[in-house]
């Protein structure tokens, strides 16, 4: 079988965000593979290590630099990568068309993708891709196993969690707790340099963005920053309760 893992390159969570010309400026910032996508890569590798015969393909869409994130996936153990190069920012609905078409061309039967993007904070890609392929999907997956063509696992819902069973083909979106992604080892990094990185152009996918991105700004709410010294706990506690009652008026 073939497994696709969708890879996004995002700002490292420890980096500050900068806005220039009405958009987030990523130049000069450290960019990494989205942690949510690392869970997807790791899970694909684990399914294979559990005895499933599978070729694992990483797919990335975006500017040339996205290849760095795809290289990381290759170094983790993915077999080959497909890079659809474009400088246009695509919303999840538009992006899902590319992912679905690649899945069909590659005859994939499982797609793993991040539960929430760390840059655009979107949840939509997994379900949108599943809909285009007329596949079922599971979101926020925290445990997964594959027996033959049956997936069994557990995922989070609004209140609590559910166990599920599902027949392939399917889309699975990842979640913290699904696994602990491995670090690429040096031999695997060396090996990854010889792996295939196929470049495709955006044109063939005939994608029209559904959203127009107008502007971005960093809105910092002014905070009072009234920080008390708690050496004398009863005094500090009394002051704080008084401020919350009489100044902020948020407690009775």
């Amino acid at each position: 079988m073939r497994i696709l893992t969708f890879i996004r390159q995002v700002l490292d969570a420890e980096e500050s965000v900068h806005v220039a010309n009405n958009a987030v400026a990523l130049e000069n910032s450290k960019l990494v593979m989205d942690t949510m996508d690392e869970y997807g890569v790791e899970e694909a590798l684990r399914l294979r290590e559990s005895g499933v015969e599978a070729e694992i393909i990483a797919v990335g869409v975006g500017p040339a630099r996205v290849q760095d994130a795809l290289r990381t996936a290759l170094a983790m153990g993915v077999d080959r990568a497909i890079h659809v190069e474009t400088d246009i920012r695509l919303d999840a609905i538009a992006l899902s068309k590319i992912l679905a078409e690649i899945a069909q061309k590659e005859d994939a039967s499982l797609i793993l993708s991040g539960g929430q993007q760390a840059d655009w904070d979107s949840h939509a890609l997994g379900a949108a891709t599943a809909e285009r392929l007329n596949w079922p999907q599971v979101t926020w997956t925290s445990a997964l196993e594959l027996k033959g063509t049956t997936l069994n696992g557990k995922h989070d819902v609004d209140e609590g969690s559910e166990t599920f069973t599902l027949e392939l083909p399917a889309v699975i979106t990842t979640q913290q707790g699904l696994n602990e992604p491995r670090y690429p080892t040096l031999p695997n990094i060396m090996k990854s340099k010889k792996k295939e990185m196929r470049k495709e152009s955006l044109d063939q996918f005939n994608v029209t963005p559904k959203l127009k991105f107008v502007s971005a700004e960093i809105q910092v709410k002014n905070r009072l920053n009234k920080i008390l010294d708690g050496k004398d706990a009863p005094v500090a506690a009394s002051q704080l309760v008084d401020l919350l009652r009489n100044q902020a008026k948020v407690i009775a």
């Binding site: 969570a13 929430q116 949840h123 999907q137 609590g160 599920f164 707790g177 107008v214 809105q219 407690i251």
Partner: protein, 320 residues
């Protein structure tokens, strides 16, 4: 028509319906044309839900079917897309719960519509919608635009003022749905329901992190203070991973997003992933031993000091 899909659980309507009604009324006003607001209620044994919803909108469509007892993204998206198509909806409003955000992309694809996720503002001019939403772990506010005959929008919980119920109840109609057979089979459920108010709807949230010391410390300080204030409890990823608290209480990037009137962070240092889930709270209070903890930078009020001593002193003070 503007279509609102109702979120409900255990026979109760989620607060989101009233927020969606506010968004819908504002939009109907700006846009002109057919301003009627229709609500769609999907589920099984939902008579009480439909009755409550009837006080919010102009028309209620009800599909009360055993087949809809269990939420499923394929069922929900098929039902919503069918109703939106038949009613020629110009806007489909969906809530911000996990399940709502899960099936909304399917609706957008079925309707060939744009999807605006988790919006905090929404305006219309002709057939162009302009909305704002948070990006980059809620550090950036982005403005987006979409045009066309129909759009699918999910609303961020807490972003719109809830509308008040009307005296008159709107008429209810049964809808006839062509539903697919769900392919995802749910084999078991673990409910993590708490006796407290729901985390995403609470006016006050008291959260704890590593600084509470232990699972027992969480109960002694965080839960005790929450109960005293009638608040929901939240937790950081670190202590959920450590097994001190259930995942349903996690606040942050991979947990829940909250926007209460008051957020009290106890023993939480303030990693960016946690802040993304609570930094829009109206008033933020931090209690932490470490004066350098990033949480103090976004706090309105705070105490630097020993967590147990300070929380116990606050409890004593609140009893006065």
């Amino acid at each position: 028509m503007i279509l609102i899909v109702v979120e409900h659980a255990n026979g109760k309507v989620s607060k989101s319906i009233w927020e969606m009604v506010t968004a819908a009324r504002e939009l109907a006003h700006q846009r002109g044309g057919d301003p009627s607001i229709t609500a769609l209620v999907l589920g099984s044994n939902i008579t009480s839900v439909a009755a409550e919803v009837a006080r919010a909108v102009d028309q209620v469509l009800v599909a009360d079917l055993p087949a809809l007892a269990q939420y499923d993204s394929e069922l929900w998206s098929a039902a919503v897309a069918q109703v939106a198509t038949e009613g020629e909806a110009s806007l489909v409003l969906i809530g911000g719960s996990r399940s709502s955000r899960e099936y909304s992309p399917r609706v957008a694809i079925k309707l060939d519509a744009p999807l605006l996720e988790d919006v905090i503002t929404l305006k219309a001019s002709g057939d162009t919608l302009t909305a704002q939403h948070y990006t980059f772990l809620a550090r950036v506010t982005e403005t987006i635009e979409a045009s066309g005959p129909v759009a699918v929008v999910t609303i961020k919980p807490g972003a719109f003022n809830p509308a008040t119920p009307r005296a008159e109840a709107a008429e209810q109609f049964d809808v006839d749905l062509k539903l697919p057979t769900p392919r995802l089979k749910v084999t078991g459920k673990t409910a993590e329901r708490s006796s407290r108010v729901s985390l995403t709807e609470a006016e006050i949230v008291v959260s704890g992190g590593r600084g509470v010391g232990s699972a027992e410390g969480f109960t002694q300080y965080v839960e005790a203070l929450a109960d005293k204030l009638g608040a929901a409890v939240g937790a950081t990823r670190a202590i959920v991973d450590a097994g001190w608290r259930p995942y349903s209480e996690q606040v942050g990037q991979t947990g829940k997003t909250v926007q209460p009137k008051l957020y009290i962070a106890i023993g939480i240092s303030g990693a960016v992933q946690h802040l993304s889930g609570m930094n829009k709270s109206k008033t933020i209070v931090a209690i932490n031993r470490d004066a350098e903890a990033p949480i103090f930078k976004i706090a309105d009020y705070g105490i630097i000091g020993d967590v147990p001593q300070i929380v116990l002193a606050m409890l004593a003070e609140l009893k006065k």
